[in-house]
């Protein structure tokens, strides 16, 4: 009886220690945690690369394929170009998708890399984002799978198949929406099949 109470107490302690969060991610080597709560965690590397985990509530019917497509489409309209897509697995075996993007903030010439690890459980959508200057891409890109493998995603219901859902099909970024207020970019004659540059208002 005493042993049972001890075990129950231990279970309650473990649950409390994890904060009943829908995620768990300790700072990967090279990162220090800036802040964390039940819905997000921010970490920073010495080279200013940021790691930002964000949790959103999932809705009925929200699958990995649905949210991956939504993410690529909306980021694409903001100027993010998808350059890579692959399957990843979380520490507790939840299937996710790694999406790598190229991005240049409007009005600047600074190229950035942006990687989103998308995991979907019945209760939540967990996105682990990694972003920084493009020169740091080669340093961090090989470590992204490792970060995915360190992430724990909770909220899977055994009687549902959301966590074991299929991977999204091959995704492509749509052309970016024009950003009003920005001067028109010079036309590039060799890129005839490219989407037209953003037009000013």
């Amino acid at each position: 009886m005493q042993r049972l109470i001890l075990l129950m107490g231990l279970a309650v302690f473990v649950a409390g220690a994890s904060g009943c969060r829908n995620y768990e991610l300790k700072p990967p080597t090279g990162f220090a945690q800036v802040d964390a709560d039940d819905y997000e965690a921010r970490m920073k590397a010495g080279d200013d690369v940021g790691l930002h985990l964000k949790v959103f509530p999932n809705v009925e019917g929200g699958t990995l394929g649905f949210w991956a497509e939504d993410l690529v489409k909306k980021l694409g309209k903001r100027g993010y170009a998808l350059v890579g897509q692959k399957r990843v697995k979380s520490k507790n075996g939840v299937d996710g998708t790694r999406l790598d993007f190229d991005y240049t903030p409007p009005g600047t010439q600074e190229k950035k890399f942006y990687t989103a690890l998308l995991f979907v459980s019945d209760e939540s959508i967990v996105v682990v984002q990694l972003a920084g200057n493009d020169e740091r891409r080669s340093h961090w890109a090989p470590r992204v799978d490792e970060i995915a493998g360190d992430t724990v995603v909770r909220g899977c219901k055994p009687w549902k198949k959301t966590c074991d859902g299929p991977q999204p099909g091959k995704l492509t970024s749509p052309p970016p929406d024009p950003i009003f207020g920005l001067p028109a970019e010079p036309s590039q004659p060799e890129a005839a099949d490219q989407p037209p540059p953003p037009m000013p208002a």
């Binding site: 790691l51 964000k54 993410l71 903001r78 984002q129 972003a131 009003f180 208002a201």
Partner: protein, 277 residues
């Protein structure tokens, strides 16, 4: 002395008659104005629409401004148009009625524009009135009040809309034709009186007589100055429309205001929300 007093009184009565005659002639001029072709009656200025009514305010969303989009549609003349020449005004201000078909309208416009780079947009807005012959009335960190020649208001507003996304705009009008013509008539009448009083002053034989006429002259002169001042103010307000431009900066992740997307989660994602600087 009594005769002189009588003359002064007669002069003042005559001035009163002139005022009423001027009003009568204004009515006749109205008829002439009404007989003018409708096209002449519509304001040829660029910005405000022809169908803005006195002291009316119109608000519309971006892209939904039929009034601004079709300014050339002539307004049927429904009320008499004053056609009298403007009176004394600031010589620096051109005849305000020359370009607006005889109507005396004060235009006041406001615009709210979301821009990508606030500093650049403010800089451009600051230099804009110079090209249109206007000036910057006042400005702060995100708002600038411009004085633009009325006939250039539309062009200026179109140019400012190109700075970013127009969140809202409005145009208020105030028709001051009646007040303007009334002031003109009163000025003419008082000038007549003033001239007569000066003649009387020349005929005064005693100091007492001269003092009486002088008093009347001062009264008429003061009233004339007040009216001329108001006329100058109206001329300035009619010639230069007030355009208040509010600017605010939008980031690359700013959601589109018109979006009806139920899932905004991606708005919170991206490089800006992740990277450290």
């Amino acid at each position: 002395m009594r005769r002189l007093t009588m003359l002064v009184l007669l002069g003042l009565v005559t001035a009163g008659c002139m005022k009423s005659v001027s009003r009568g002639s204004y009515k006749r001029m109205d008829m002439a104005g009404a007989a003018a072709p409708a096209g002449e009656a519509s304001p040829p200025m660029d910005a405000p629409a022809a169908d803005y009514k006195s002291k009316e305010s119109k608000r519309y969303d971006d892209g939904a401004s039929p009034e601004l989009a079709s300014p050339s549609s002539p307004e049927p003349v429904t009320k008499p148009e004053p056609t009298a020449r403007p009176g004394t005004g600031d010589p620096a201000v051109e005849d305000p009625r020359k370009d607006i078909g005889g109507r005396m309208i004060i235009y006041t416009a406001t615009m709210r524009v979301a821009v990508f780079n606030l500093e650049d947009a403010l800089e451009k807005a600051e230099s804009l009135p110079e090209r249109y012959g206007g000036y910057v009335h006042s400005m702060n960190a995100s708002e600038i009040v411009l004085k633009i020649p009325a006939r250039k208001l539309r062009t200026a507003m179109t140019e400012l809309a190109g700075y970013g996304t127009v969140e809202s705009k409005s145009l208020n009008t105030q028709d001051v034709s009646a007040e303007y013509v009334d002031i003109e008539s009163r000025i003419r009448a008082l000038e007549g009186t003033h001239k007569q009083l000066l003649e009387l002053l020349g005929k005064a034989r005693t100091v007492d007589e001269a003092l009486h006429v002088r008093q009347a002259l001062d009264q008429v002169g003061a009233e004339l100055e007040v009216l001329k001042g108001r006329m100058r103010q109206l001329d300035s307000l009619i010639s230069f429309s007030t355009l208040t431009l509010s600017l605010y900066e939008r980031g690359p992740h700013t959601p589109t205001p018109s979006s009806n997307d139920p899932f905004h989660w991606v708005d919170e994602l991206g490089v800006e929300a992740t990277e450290y600087k």
